[in-house]
C-alpha cells in the first residue's frame, strides 16, 4: 500500500511540474553559488575546503527549504482538495498513507541531491574530498530531511491546513537555521552553547565543517554530530506517532 501512495505522490509531483520547478530552482541556486565561489575575486580566495563547506551548507539548506515548502502540502492537500474522504474510505490505514507520503518527500530530497552531484564534483575537483563530500551531504541531508519531514507531517495532522503547516514549519526551520548559520559570529554563553548542541541544523553544519575543513572523515569522528540528528529523528517520529494517534481519535473528518 505504501508504494502506491508513494507512486501517486511522485506522479503528482511530475504531472503538476512541482518537482521539476523545484529542481530547476535548486540547480539555478547551485549554479549561481558555484559560479560565485569559483569566479568572485574575494570568494575565490577562500581555501578550497572552506569553499566546499559553503557549498555543502547551501545544498542542504536549499534542500531543507524546498522540502519544508513541498512537505507542508503533501498531506494537507488531501483535506483541502476534498480527496481525503475517498482515500480513507479505501482499505488503507493512516500509517500507510503517512509512510507513503514520507517516502515521496525523501525521494524529492534524493532528486535534489542528484542535481547537486555535478556541482559537488566540479568544486571538489583536485582535492581528495569528493567522496566524503558526497557521502556526508547525502547522510546528513537525508537525516535532516527525514526529521523535518516527520515534524512537518505531524504538524499537518494537527492543523490539517497547508497555510498553517507551512508558516509553522518555516518558523521552526528559520529558528533552527539562523543561529546555525551565524553561530561563529554569535556571542557564546551556556544557553547558546546548549542550543547549538541540540540544534539539528547546527549539527549538520558542524559535521560538514569537521569533515571538509578539519579532515575528520570517519563516522566515529563525526558521531558527536550525527547522534543529535538521530535523536532529532527519533523525537520527530514520536511526535508523528502522537499526532497520528490524535488524528485517529478525532476521525478523518473533523467537523461538518
Amino acid at each position: 500500500m505504501i508504494n502506491y501512495i508513494w507512486l501517486k505522490e511522485i506522479k503528482a509531483e511530475l504531472y503538476t511540474w512541482k518537482s521539476t520547478a523545484w529542481l530547476l530552482i535548486a540547480s539555478l541556486l547551485f549554479s549561481f553559488t558555484s559560479y560565485l565561489l569559483l569566479t568572485d575575486k574575494e570568494l575565490s580566495l577562500l581555501d578550497q575546503t572552506e569553499l566546499l563547506w559553503l557549498l555543502a551548507k547551501i545544498i542542504i539548506g536549499v534542500g531543507l527549504l524546498i522540502i519544508t515548502i513541498d512537505a507542508s502540502s503533501v498531506l494537507t492537500s488531501e483535506f483541502e482538495a476534498d480527496t481525503a474522504e475517498s482515500l480513507f474510505l479505501a482499505p488503507i490505514t493512516l500509517d500507510e498513507i503517512i509512510w507513503g507520503k514520507l517516502l515521496s518527500i525523501i525521494t524529492l530530497w534524493l532528486f535534489i541531491f542528484i542535481t547537486a552531484v555535478p556541482y559537488i564534483l566540479v568544486t571538489s575537483a583536485g582535492s581528495s574530498l569528493a567522496g566524503a563530500f558526497l557521502g556526508y551531504v547525502l547522510l546528513l541531508g537525508t537525516l535532516g530531511v527525514l526529521g523535518f519531514s516527520m515534524l512537518i507531517l505531524a504538524i499537518s495532522l494537527l492543523f490539517r491546513s497547508s497555510k498553517n503547516t507551512l508558516s509553522t514549519s518555516l518558523i521552526i526551520l528559520l529558528a533552527l537555521a539562523v543561529p546555525a548559520l551565524f553561530s561563529s559570529t554569535l556571542k557564546i554563553n551556556i544557553v547558546s552553547d546548549f542550543f547549538s548542541k541540540i540544534n539539528p541544523v547546527d549539527a549538520i553544519f558542524a559535521s560538514l565543517d569537521n569533515v571538509l575543513v578539519d579532515y575528520q572523515l570517519s563516522i566515529a569522528q563525526n558521531l558527536q554530530f550525527i547522534l543529535p540528528l538521530v535523536v532529532f529523528c527519533i523525537l520527530t517520529l514520536i511526535l508523528l506517532i502522537i499526532a497520528a494517534g490524535q488524528f485517529k481519535r478525532k476521525g478523518i473528518i473533523q467537523n461538518e
Binding site: 488531501e78 482499505p91 476521525g251
Partner: protein, 241 residues
C-alpha cells in the same frame, strides 16, 4: 432476511453540538434503503459513521459481522460516494480508477476498469484529465470508484447531484440493476421522487434523531396521510407551512 448493517444507539457530537443522537437502525441484506433528512439533520454524519470514516462517540456499528473498529475489513466490503467529492485532477479517469483498484488489492484491474467506465458512460473520455470533466462526469467517475471493488453494500450520499435528467436516469437504472444483483444500497438524496421510485424502505432523520422508519405505506400510516413522500417528509420534519 438478515441484517447486513446494524447501528446500535450511535451518537456523535461536534464539540457541544450533537449531530446524531442515540440512533439505532437495521438494514437487511439486499435492501434499497432511502435515508432522508433536512440539511444539517445528521445524514452525512450517520453515513460517515456507518462507513467507518468517523468513529461514533457512543454505540456500536456492525457491517456484515464486522465491528466499526475493523475499518480496513469494512472498507473492503463497501463502496461509497461520499459527500465530499474531491478528485485528483491531474489524473485521467482511467488512472484514477487504477489507483483505487491498487488500494483495494485488485490484480490486473484493466478489464474491471473498462467495464465500469462503460457502465457509467465514461469509456470514451477515459484518457482525458479529470480536470476537464464536467460535474456530472465527475459524479459518474465517483460511482465507478465506489464500484471498483465489487462491493456488497453501497453507501450513496446524493449520487445524482449535478447530473442532468438523462444522467440521473442512467444512474438510477444502474443502481436498480446492482440492487437486483444483490447489492444492498444505502441511499441518501434530497430528490424525493427518486427516493420513492427506488427505495423499498425509508428512514427520516431530523435534529440527529431517526424520527420515522418504514415503507412508503407505513410512513403514510404513521402520518395519517395519503400524500406523496414529499408531503410525508414535510409533515414529519415540521417543515409544512
Amino acid at each position: 432476511m438478515d441484517a447486513i448493517i446494524t447501528a446500535k444507539n450511535i451518537s456523535k457530537s461536534y464539540g457541544s453540538q450533537a449531530a446524531v443522537k442515540d440512533l439505532s437502525l437495521e438494514i437487511q441484506r439486499g435492501e434499497f434503503f432511502g435515508f432522508l433528512g433536512p440539511n444539517g439533520a445528521g445524514k452525512t454524519t450517520t453515513i460517515r459513521m456507518l462507513t467507518g470514516i468517523l468513529p461514533p462517540d457512543q454505540g456500536e456499528i456492525i457491517i456484515q459481522g464486522k465491528n466499526h473498529t475493523q475499518r480496513k475489513d469494512i472498507a473492503k466490503m463497501i463502496g461509497v460516494i461520499p459527500e465530499s467529492r474531491g478528485f485528483y485532477h491531474w489524473m485521467t479517469g482511467e488512472e484514477y480508477l487504477h489507483f483505487f483498484a491498487q488500494l483495494y488489492g485488485i490484480i490486473k484491474p484493466e478489464r474491471t476498469i473498462s467495464q465500469l467506465l462503460k457502465q457509467v458512460g465514461l469509456l470514451e473520455r477515459k484518457r482525458a484529465k479529470i480536470a476537464t470533466y464536467s460535474r456530472g462526469m465527475k459524479q459518474r467517475l465517483g460511482l465507478a470508484r465506489a464500484l471498483i471493488n465489487g462491493p456488497k453494500i453501497l453507501f450513496l450520499d446524493e449520487p445524482t447531484l449535478g447530473l442532468d435528467p438523462q444522467g440521473q436516469e442512467d444512474i438510477q437504472k444502474l443502481l436498480k440493476t446492482l440492487n437486483h444483483e444483490g447489492v444492498t444500497i444505502f441511499f441518501s438524496s434530497h430528490l424525493l421522487p427518486e427516493v420513492s421510485a427506488l427505495c423499498s424502505r425509508i428512514g427520516i432523520i431530523n435534529h440527529g434523531k431517526l424520527i420515522a422508519l418504514g415503507t412508503l405505506s407505513e410512513l403514510q400510516e404513521q402520518t395519517q396521510s395519503k400524500g406523496s413522500l414529499k408531503d410525508i417528509f414535510l409533515a414529519l420534519t415540521g417543515q409544512h407551512d
